[in-house]
């Protein structure tokens, strides 16, 4: 015991490796946080936040909390951020942030407030913890025999003795959260309000002037993209075959014989780019 008491008095020296880790991952964490706030796309925000959380997890491992580091990476970056991305894909991906300020000067005020707060709290903490002792967790984590017990047994011992009540209440909290999420996300439908396939089919034929499908794109020797419009039997382009969102493509076609004399033949309509005569091309 005297050995342990002596160890508690001496300060743990923070090693050079930890310093290197801090000065590499500290800026990375800051960059992740700033990127999250300033990126317009919500999915990019989520990915920046993952970066920050991963570096925080490494900080936990470095600071003698390997269990919390693992939990941070598994729970936060693994579960919570994936939950965020799920909801983003369902809800907010295309709803990009509006740049209109609903409260005038709010952004500037918030930024000034943030810089001031960071300055005050940062300076205060820096002054107050200037000579903060670093006792280290070697003594707290030692097992009964005085050997090296480890982080997880130490946490388990505290969690299931002093904090047992809080731990049990946590289980109630989690089950409440799960039930609450189910209640909030559930859509109650009156029985019988859902339309059957037969009703849907009838409705489609009643209100729709065009119950059948639209014509597909044209297939040509020199192009069969969706942008290529289809041709009607008389050689004109059908506008219904235009793909939405794509510029209709001009298709180069082989020159065809257009002699009026051929129009009477069975494949006469194929041989012309002119609209077919109304009488079907028959010549009296």
């Amino acid at each position: 015991m005297s050995l342990l008491a002596a160890a508690a008095d001496t300060q743990v020296v923070i090693g050079g490796a930890e310093e290197v880790v801090f000065w590499i991952l500290g800026p990375v964490a800051l960059a992740g946080a700033l990127g999250m706030v300033f990126s317009k796309n919500a999915v990019h925000s989520a990915l920046w936040l993952v970066l920050t959380m991963l570096s925080l997890g490494v900080f936990y491992v470095v600071q003698e909390a390997p269990f919390l580091g693992a939990v941070q990476i598994i729970v936060y970056t693994g579960a919570i951020m994936i939950l965020f991305l799920f909801v983003l894909m369902m809800v907010g991906r295309d709803s990009s942030d509006s740049v209109v300020e609903t409260l005038r000067g709010q952004r500037v005020a918030a930024t000034v407030l943030g810089v001031g707060f960071a300055g005050l709290v940062g300076a205060g903490i820096a002054r107050a913890t200037e000579d903060l002792p670093v006792v280290g967790l070697a003594e707290a984590q030692a097992d009964a025999a005085g050997g090296e017990g480890g982080n997880i047994p130490a946490i388990a011992e505290l969690l299931f003795t002093r904090y047992l009540l809080a731990f049990e209440v946590t289980s109630a909290l989690l089950i409440t959260a799960a039930v609450g999420a189910m209640v909030l996300a559930h859509i109650e439908r009156e029985p019988g309000t859902r339309r059957t396939q037969k009703e849907l089919s009838k409705a489609r034929f009643l209100d729709n002037p065009r119950p059948q499908t639209l014509p597909g794109p044209g297939v040509y020797a020199r192009g069969n993209s969706v942008a290529a419009p289809a041709l009607l039997p008389d050689g004109t382009v059908t506008e219904e075959s235009f793909a939405t969102g794509v510029e209709p493509q001009e298709i180069e076609q082989m020159p065809r014989p257009t002699g009026r004399g051929q129009l009477g033949s069975p494949d006469g309509a194929l041989g012309t780019l002119d609209p077919a005569p109304l009488d079907g091309g028959r010549q009296s």
Binding site: F59, Y60, V115, T170
Partner: protein, 99 residues
């Protein structure tokens, strides 16, 4: 380098999260900023646990993580149900608790 560095980093991360909550309009991004604030407080807890030589700070950080997980689940479900009724995930549009 001392433990002060960790604490100042946590304070700056907390501030960035707070500014994000004030500035951003998308409810999900606002939520992510809240998560960042919780995380920075966790870093403070772990740092002080190491400084004082007790495990209690780590236990507190653990409980914060559990509560944050529950909070995220409920919050995202609320955002989903607001989106269903208002077709928008912006905090400006949700100005009524009902409808």
């Amino acid at each position: 380098m001392t433990l002060t560095h960790y604490l100042v980093l946590a304070a700056i991360l907390f501030t960035i999260g707070a500014v994000g909550v004030l500035v951003r309009r998308n409810a999900i991004v606002v939520f992510m900023c809240v998560e960042l604030m919780l995380n920075s407080v966790n870093l403070t807890l772990v740092t002080f646990a190491r400084s004082t030589g007790t495990i209690d700070g780590q236990i507190m950080a653990f409980f914060v993580m559990v509560v944050a997980a529950a909070e995220v689940v409920i919050g995202l479900a609320i955002i989903m149900s607001i989106y269903r009724t208002r077709r928008s995930a912006s905090v400006d549009d949700a100005n009524l608790l009902k409808y």
